[in-house]
């Protein structure tokens, strides 16, 4: 705790010490909860979209409490763009892989059984998991970059 106070005091940016320390402690748990919501979408309410929004909101919280440069140290702009493209590509790529390479219908995950024989029903469950991860990645990076671009007037340096 002493170390956290020293770190936040010497950076001298953003809000007060209490908010910065609370955000530093809270953000890992928020991201863990977002991952839980994505992964546990098969059994409980939630899924890729909600978990992705929660993950994006953790970066927004970092930006509000500290500074945009501080948040961009954890998720750089280039990584953000790559992740948004990768998320959308993971979804459409999985769907196209079923149709083109393995002779099934578009978005019919049981055709992926020829890739790795787990059984067609298990592949339908596992395909849903893959596309949820894709949706989560895309929504996380896009919601974070929307806020960063709107908040910094398009320059991606200072922020609010």
């Amino acid at each position: 705790m002493r170390l956290l106070q020293d770190q936040t005091a010497e950076q001298k940016l953003g809000e007060s010490l209490i908010i910065q320390t609370a955000v530093r402690i809270l953000v890992p748990f928020i991201q863990l909860f977002g991952l839980y919501v994505i992964v546990h979408g098969h059994y409980s309410p939630g899924g890729g979209f909600q978990g992705g929004v929660i993950l994006g909101a953790s970066f927004v919280l970092l930006t509000l409490a500290f500074d945009q440069k501080f948040a961009l140290k954890y998720m750089s702009e280039k990584a953000n763009n790559i992740l948004s493209n990768a998320g959308a590509l993971l979804f459409t790529g999985t769907a196209t892989l079923c149709a083109i390479c393995y002779g099934g219908k578009f978005l019919d995950y049981s055709a992926l059984d020829k890739l790795l024989p787990l059984g067609p029903i298990a592949w339908r469950s596992f395909g849903i998991f893959v596309i949820e991860v894709g949706v989560g990645l895309a929504v996380m990076s896009i919601s974070a970059s929307l806020f960063w671009l709107l908040g910094s007037n398009g320059e991606m340096d200072e922020g609010l």
Partner: protein, 97 residues
Amino acid sequence: MKLLALFATLMTGAILLYGTMDFPAFGDPQSPAATHLATYFTENAVRETHVPNLVTAVLGDYRGYDTMFETVVIYCAGLAVVSVLRKKKPSVPENKS
């Protein structure tokens, strides 16, 4: 002009309320929405996909096109915002070379 706007709003609300009178009751098992496809999903979705949450099974598997184009719409929104708002810093002219 404001009275006209109020009149239009009230008329739209009244028509919408009149439309809800034809709805089936809440949770009616004999309603048209609950008799054709919903019974198929509730009976077969867990056996066919091994996903206990029916909403995820329907969103991810049976209605995968919806979820895919939802993601594509969000992706296009992000692409549009980045291409409209993002400003590049003016590049510093290099002295050497």
